[in-house]
Symmetry: C2
Amino acid sequence: MSVDAPLPSSPRLMVDLDAVRSNYLLMAARSGMASCGAAIKADAYGLGLNEIAPVLARAGCTSFFCAHVSEGMIARQILGHEMEIFILNGVQYGEAPLLRQKHLIPVLSTPEHIALWQEAGENAPAALHVDTGMNRLGLPWQGNVPDMVKDLNLTLVMSHLACGSDPAHPMNRQQLERFAVIRTAFPGIRASLANSAGILLGDAWHHDLTRPGIALYGGAPLDEGGPNLAPVAHIEAPILQVFTLRQGQSVGYGATYTAPKDMTVATVAIGYADGLRRDASPGGFGRIHDQKVPLVGRVSMDLSTFDVSDLTKPPKPGDLLCLLGKDLEALAIASDTLSYEVLTGLGPRFVREYKGCGT
Amino acid sequence: MSVDAPLPSSPRLMVDLDAVRSNYLLMAARSGMASCGAAIKADAYGLGLNEIAPVLARAGCTSFFCAHVSEGMIARQILGHEMEIFILNGVQYGEAPLLRQKHLIPVLSTPEHIALWQEAGENAPAALHVDTGMNRLGLPWQGNVPDMVKDLNLTLVMSHLACGSDPAHPMNRQQLERFAVIRTAFPGIRASLANSAGILLGDAWHHDLTRPGIALYGGAPLDEGGPNLAPVAHIEAPILQVFTLRQGQSVGYGATYTAPKDMTVATVAIGYADGLRRDASPGGFGRIHDQKVPLVGRVSMDLSTFDVSDLTKPPKPGDLLCLLGKDLEALAIASDTLSYEVLTGLGPRFVREYKGCGT
């Protein structure tokens, strides 16, 4: 459900396509000699595959990573037939003909995937996912992988880092060493290990193709530090009511928050149905005229309340509260999660606006 | 972004319309002499306004509650012109003509709302929201409300319970008493206080019109106990890989989970982009052949892993893992939230199927 008309009462999600382009170019530069692909799964991390994929293509990206076959089909429609589109979740029974028809490249992770792709014939290109320690998807690196896939037309061998967000984690080097073993078994086949965090780990992790995701969308790939990325997602939501909360009065469901003193509170037309998580209170905040305003009381489905007592100029109904932007990571932390989940959790009720031409 | 083709690799969300009907009829029966409306905001709590609204109408509902004007416009298209549609968030500057054109009834909560509605002329029906202690939206009950609205064509006076989910909370009776004061000031005007929880509080809370939400969608209105509601939302997601996790091996991002013994693990094509929250692990679970299987390791964006060691018959790739259904509340609790947020957080990647005719 979405509405195109930008009604004053609707929250807006503005996606900065110039920022996506700038982040892609930064990740491409940091990928060194490797080609830089892009993870566009989950509707480009919730921000709009239809608008973002062409921007990445114009910025020079030619390799795209989806999770689902369904996503790959949409990406193919958007990107045309020149681009390489990988399906990270592989292939399920009955899907191989569709993948071939759309020139989608399955990432084969299991003996069943391999059998399905082989049975479908024609020897169309496939990628191979070898598990080097994530223990989620992939053929075990210790197994006799080359024998299992000897009849395949492999175009890429890949693995995935489990702890890349923590550069000091010993698992990064361990996975790199295991991947080196596998890579040796596939001479001449392109190799890919690095997600956004992996790109930042250094040249040794880059191989032939990197596949950043979160960094493109302005989220921090590392638990701490990392490059300055351009904020991509900006929310504006209208203030519905401004009122005085007297000392001792409670606000919101469960009456969990009690005013320690007289306060000015603004009720805003955004709630957890829009992706402002219940976890965000306490600790979360928005901005009005770039000044921080803390969430107070529980976030409701369609509404939330903010303490605007400290604003130099009190807001009035119809004024806008801003969320995300440069505060994406801070809001994710206040919500006990990652920017990834905040972005993919943005709801369908926003009026979505895309700015910048991305060229 | 959504795909209609029911690909085997896509997770499915099945919505049981007969269950919605049954839950509505139960809430209508429990509403006693009051007419029973329905909250259909946030795309009918994430489950599909387009399919659910007609089912409620056929079950006898004639009063519908949306949050946003944009939702009301869609609801009007779906429901036709006979039904009463309220806009809980009221009216913003410039929207009054649109509301009148679509015969949407704004719930006026602020002096600004009242002024906007009055300025637009014609004296079309409006509802009034009086705040009796929630401190979120509404005119203060202590104020001189009748004077503020004396020129309005009021069709409903309402308020909202802050602590209805806890029947023993003293605030329920306090809000009831305050609402009685307001109601006296508006003789002959319909009154509405009860959401799902309020309906269960008893006759005194029912007034003229109730407006259940969560109960219609199978979520529990009370923190503990309450009537047996029919489960509405059922997820099925395909298993992509089944493998052995050796004692001491870790699984997933951050390597946060280490196998205490050799285990059989299934990786499933559902992740937090679909609404299986990262919070759900540890503690969350799904079912395979109706046997519980615990989540292990962190939930990823597109994938999650479950311990299937205890299944009498080990699953194979392509088998389905079930989520929600009768486990909605348990999964919400494991995810440190409410069923409300689980439902509205369901992602756009599901193939959505509606079963039952709802007649």
